[in-house]
C-alpha cells in the first residue's frame, strides 16, 4: 500500500464528482431536505424529537451507500479498474482511496445534516453536538464501506440498486425507528443487535436525550467502526487481479 497512490485515487474520485454538480447536490443537500420534510410532517407533534436523531443515521447512511456502490461499480464495468490492476496500484490503495474520498463527502454531509436538524428543524439535542456529529459521520462512513462491498457482488447498476432493499431496508425496519428496539419480539431484537445501523440509531438517540454516558456512545462508535473496517477488508479480498 502506498499513501501517494491512495491519495491520488481519492483526489481522482473527488475530481470526478467535482464535474458532476447533481451528485454533489444529492450528496450534500438531499439528506437535510428529507430531515426537513420529516420535521414539517410532524410539526405539531412530539414525534420529530423522537425519530429525528434516527433520521440523522438513516438518510446519510442510505445515500452514501447508493452513491458509493454505483460509482465503484462503474469503475469495475468501464475497464478502468482492469487497467489499474495491471498497473502498480495496490488493492488497498484502490479501496482506501475510494473510502477516503467518500468519507470527506460524508463529513460535509453529516455536518450539514446535523446543523440543519438543530438550527432549522429545531431538533433538541441534550447531549454533545460534537458526539452527535461523530456518530452521524461514522454512520455515513459505514454506508460508504458497505456500498464498496456491495458493488463487488453486482454485475450491473441494476443489480446494485437492488441491494438497497436487501441490505438497507431490514436495518431500517429493525433499527428502532418504527418501534423502539427493546419492544421488538425477542428474535427480531436479537437479530437487530447484529445490524450496524441499530447501534448507530441507539447512539444518536442516547446523545439526543443525553441518557447515557460518553463511554456508551464510544462503545457504539467502535461497533460501527468495526463493521466499516470489516467491509473494507472484505471489499479488498473480493477485488481480484485475475478474473475468469
Amino acid at each position: 500500500m502506498s499513501f501517494g497512490r491512495t491519495f491520488a485515487t481519492a483526489g481522482r474520485v473527488l475530481a470526478q464528482i467535482g464535474h458532476d454538480p447533481r451528485t454533489i447536490g444529492l450528496l450534500l443537500i438531499v439528506p437535510s431536505l428529507l430531515i426537513g420534510l420529516m420535521s414539517w410532517l410532524f410539526v405539531d407533534t412530539p414525534v420529530f424529537d423522537r425519530v429525528g436523531p434516527a433520521m440523522l443515521a438513516l438518510f446519510p447512511f442510505t445515500i452514501m451507500f447508493l452513491v458509493t456502490s454505483i460509482t465503484t461499480l462503474r469503475e469495475r464495468r468501464s475497464g478502468t479498474l482492469e487497467r489499474l490492476l495491471t498497473m502498480p496500484l495496490g488493492k488497498a490503495d484502490f479501496i482506501l482511496g475510494y473510502t477516503l474520498a467518500f468519507c470527506l463527502l460524508a463529513i460535509m454531509q453529516a455536518g450539514i445534516a446535523v446543523g440543519f436538524s438543530i438550527w432549522v428543524c429545531g431538533l433538541v439535542i441534550e447531549g454533545s453536538v460534537w458526539l452527535l456529529l461523530a456518530v452521524a459521520l461514522a454512520d455515513a462512513v459505514l454506508g460508504t464501506t458497505l456500498g464498496l462491498l456491495a458493488s463487488a457482488f453486482a454485475r450491473t447498476e441494476f443489480q446494485v440498486v437492488q441491494f438497497m432493499p436487501v441490505i438497507i431496508f431490514p436495518q431500517v425496519l429493525l433499527g428502532g425507528v418504527f418501534l423502539p428496539r427493546d419492544q421488538l419480539p425477542d428474535v427480531l431484537h436479537a437479530i437487530s443487535d447484529w445490524l450496524p445501523l441499530s447501534h448507530a440509531i441507539d447512539a444518536l438517540n442516547a446523545v439526543a436525550a443525553d441518557s447515557e454516558d460518553a463511554a456508551y456512545v464510544g462503545g457504539k462508535l467502535l461497533i460501527i467502526a468495526a463493521y466499516a473496517i470489516g467491509a473494507v477488508i472484505l471489499g479488498s479480498i473480493t477485488l481480484r487481479r485475475k478474473t475468469p
Binding site: G4, R5, A8, T9, G11, R12, A15, Q16, H19, D20, S78, G79, T80, E82, R83, L84, L85, T86, M87, P88, L89, R241, K242, T243, P244
Partner: protein
C-alpha cells in the same frame, strides 16, 4: 517491486518479450484458448490478427496478468505474467477506451502517472506523442471515439513501458490518424519497445514485423508478412488468412485439429 537490474543483461535481451506455452483458458463453460504456443520477440511490432471472438483479447488479458488461466504458462519479459514487477514494465490498452469519462484528458493522465509512479513530465510527453495537445482540458466524455482511444493509448505510454499490449488501438480512427499511430508504434519499436497489437483489419498486417493469425482459440500462423504471403501464395493478408482457414477445420469439442 522494482525490476531486477540484471534484466538489462545480454542473455536476457535475447529472451522473447512474451512466451506462452500450452496456454489453455476456460471462460464460463467454454474453452476459449486451446493450448496456445506464442512467442513475441523483443523490439518488434507483432500483429495479432483474427476475426472477433477468436480469442485475441483473452490472450492479451493473460499476457497482462488479469486473466485466470486453466493450464500452461505465460512468461513476460522473463517473469511470469502478472508478476508485481511487471506492472511498471507493461502497458495495456483495452479495446474500449478505459479512461474516466468525467475527467479531463489531463486529469486522467495525471492520475495514471501518479499510479505508475512515473516522472511528472510524462504527462506532457504522452499528450504530445498522441497528438492530444489541443484537447488537454476537455472532458473525455465529450471527445469522439477516436480521441478517447488516443487518451487510453496515452495512459499506456506513461513511464515508457518495455512492452505494450494494445487491443485494437486503431479501431474507429480515420486513415490519417491510423498512419500516424502506426508511425508512433514503429518509432517505439525502434527505441526497443516490444509491441503486440491486435486488429481485425487485415490491411494493417503489412505494417507489422511478424503476424500471429488466430481463429477459434488456436494459432493458425506465426510468420513475417512476406513469409505468410509466400507460404500461402496469397496476394494480401486477408486472402492469406482465408486460405489458412480453408486448411484448418474448425476447432471442435476440445480436440486439437
Amino acid at each position: 517491486m522494482e525490476s531486477k537490474p540484471d534484466d538489462a543483461g545480454g542473455s536476457v535481451r535475447s529472451q522473447p518479450a512474451i512466451e506462452a506455452r500450452d496456454l489453455r483458458i476456460i471462460r464460463g463453460k467454454h474453452e476459449v484458448l486451446h493450448g496456445l504456443n506464442v512467442s513475441v520477440p523483443r523490439g518488434t511490432v507483432v500483429g495479432l490478427l483474427g476475426p472477433s471472438g477468436s480469442g485475441k483479447t483473452t490472450l492479451m488479458r493473460s499476457i497482462v496478468g488479469v486473466q485466470r488461466i486453466a493450464s500452461g504458462s505465460v512468461e513476460v519479459l522473463g517473469s511470469p505474467a502478472g508478476a508485481a514487477g511487471l506492472r511498471r514494465r507493461v502497458g495495456y490498452v483495452t479495446q474500449s477506451a478505459s479512461v474516466y469519462d468525467d475527467l479531463s484528458v489531463r486529469q486522467n493522465l495525471t492520475y495514471f502517472r501518479a499510479v505508475m509512479g512515473a516522472d511528472r513530465s510524462e504527462v506532457d510527453r504522452v499528450i504530445e506523442a498522441t497528438d492530444l495537445v489541443p484537447l488537454t482540458n476537455r472532458l473525455v466524455g465529450s471527445l469522439s471515439g477516436g480521441e478517447q482511444s488516443r487518451v487510453s493509448l496515452a495512459a499506456a505510454l506513461i513511464g515508457s513501458p518495455e512492452l505494450l499490449v494494445l487491443d485494437e488501438p486503431t479501431v474507429g480512427l480515420d486513415p490519417v490518424l491510423r498512419v500516424e499511430l502506426w508511425g508512433l508504434f514503429r518509432g517505439l519499436a525502434e527505441q526497443g519497445t516490444s509491441l503486440l497489437i491486435s486488429s481485425h483489419v487485415m490491411d494493417e498486417a503489412t505494417r507489422c514485423d511478424r503476424l500471429l493469425l488466430m481463429r477459434d482459440g488456436m494459432l493458425l500462423a506465426d510468420e513475417t508478412p512476406e513469409g505468410l504471403l509466400a507460404v500461402t501464395g496469397a496476394k494480401d493478408a486477408e486472402d492469406a488468412f482465408l486460405r489458412l482457414v480453408e486448411h484448418h477445420p474448425r476447432h471442435s469439442a476440445g480436440e486439437a485439429s
